[in-house]
């Protein structure tokens, strides 16, 4: 009796874990399979084709949306990283450091509140919705991640490094570029990547702040889903799944390598 119970428990956990992974991956697998389905509107298998990928490659709308998304994401990364590094390096040793919690507000507020607030601001100031408003909004999202991440890394740096560099005759500028920036680089890279992905991923804020001119990739997918599915979206989803996986793999590989290097060095 006891043995039977123990046996059930021994298998119960792996089985429930397996079920959760099944739940996580079944929709993904089905989308990938159906992106090769030779049928227009059916969710029924009608044979293998790659023509949706061909159509995806030749769809001007998708390329436009991708270009828009990339422009917005890259601008948001550059702007939020620049301002974030400046505020951490110049603000940490002044009274401004006490105001750093202000940057946590972006993460604490529900996204719909941010979206509504930004829309109100832009219409109050008569700013035309488009790239400007989108980049402003995504840079705000970015700052919410960059400042806490870079500040955390900066606070962990040995303060004597800056002092030593200054004592040895380097200017503050030289100290920043030759000592601090290389040390901050891992956190800058991680924060930049995170902001890039979050910007590419964001739908709600873009939906409120982009107007008709700057349609991003998630907005394109949203309008396609609403209009009724077309197989091109299946192909696009599959491509995005693959790209995300490569990103995550690369990111974990870098982290594992960094941990390994740290192990060797220290």
């Amino acid at each position: 009796m006891m043995k039977k119970q123990a046996l059930a428990r021994g298998f119960g956990l792996p089985i429930s874990v397996g079920l959760v992974y099944f739940f996580l991956y079944i929709p993904i697998i089905v989308v990938i399979v159906f992106s090769f389905n030779d049928a227009h509107y059916a969710y029924v298998w009608r044979g293998f084709t790659t023509r949706w990928y061909y159509e995806l490659w030749h769809s001007a709308e998708v390329w436009d949306a991708l270009t828009n998304s990339l422009i917005v994401a890259c601008s948001a990364v550059v702007l939020s990283l620049t301002m974030g590094v400046l505020v951490v390096w110049h603000g940490s040793h002044t009274a401004l450091a006490r105001l750093f919690p202000l940057f946590y507000g972006t993460l604490a507020a529900p996204e719909i509140v941010l979206a509504v607030g930004l829309l109100t601001l832009f219409s109050a100031l008569d700013v035309e919705l488009g790239f400007t408003s989108l980049i402003a909004a995504h840079t705000l999202l970015g700052l919410g991640y960059v400042v806490p991440m870079v500040h955390a890394r900066f606070s962990n740096l040995d303060k004597t490094l800056t002092e030593a560099s200054l004592d040895l005759g380097a200017t503050r500028g030289q100290t920043f570029f030759k000592v601090i920036l290389p040390l901050l680089f891992p956190s800058l890279f991680a924060a930049g990547l995170l902001v890039f992905i979050i910007s590419l991923d964001d739908f709600l804020i873009s939906f409120f702040c982009s107007g008709a001119t700057a349609q991003t990739l998630p907005m394109y997918i949203f309008s396609m889903i609403r209009a009724g599915s077309t197989p091109v979206v299946n192909a696009l989803s599959t491509v995005m799944l693959v790209v995300s996986s490569i990103f995550v793999l690369g990111f974990s590989w870098i982290q594992v390598r960094r941990m390994g290097m740290r192990g060797v060095r220290l």
Binding site: L102, L140, L143
Partner: protein
Amino acid sequence: MNIVARIKSACMRESSFFMALPAFIWQLIFLYVPLIFVIVASFMKVDEKLSLGALTLEHYASFTDPLYWVVIGRSLLLAMCAAIACGIMAYPVAYYIALRATRWKNVLLFFLILPFWINLLVQVYAWFFVLEKNGLVNTVLLKLGIIAEPLRLLNTPFAIFIVMLYCYLPFMAMPIYSILERFNQRLIEASLDLGATPWQTFMRVTLPMSLPGLKTGFFLVFVPSFGEFVIPVLTGGGKKLFVGSMISLYYLDAGDTQLGAAFTMLSGVVLLIVSLFLNWLFKRIVRVSAGGQ
């Protein structure tokens, strides 16, 4: 000290101050000023210029209509169900990866986090294939002869719930995993050695210790799913309103910014009160479970 050096260092300090400013200004203009705008707009009469005389409570007065409370209550219920279901599903996985898995630990962890990085719209879209009338679930159930007619799954509250559970699962799994990962396994051994059954050990040692992770996960799921827009709109058929869709209706379709702002404020306040209450409840549970030992 000579005066030139003093001026120079003063300038340095000043320039330092100015270099730190852009980020703060950006944060103020695009986060805090808009929030103030929303608050002010919620007290403004429609179509009037900003002045003291244009202030009104009429938008808030309209919240005596139960319609608004039904929408808020529905969103609260959905967010609560999603958070609890996420907890039930994520716990065994996080437990297994943190305490049991050996060789496949990193692989399992990778596949647990991966969906988190997939675009939300792609995740939602993927579920159409599973829940559609001719989708996977119906096909399988029909083939097995369990049902005679295809079930209506898409455009129901059930679809919203399942997709929400799916999209927010990593938010729950990660905090639980990270707390169990740091968990001292000797405590489990000690408990077993002292004669507790595995079940008692889990209930009296492991679970109470991992409550902080569950709590973090709960709020990471509960707060965003309360205002969730995409999932109810795409999988719920759009007939039942939720807080997110209601707000967007006011702002984007009806153009009623003032009432929209008031409704945003109302739901924000409700969310805050409920979160504070749940936080208090969690603290009590932790205290009681610690006292029980």
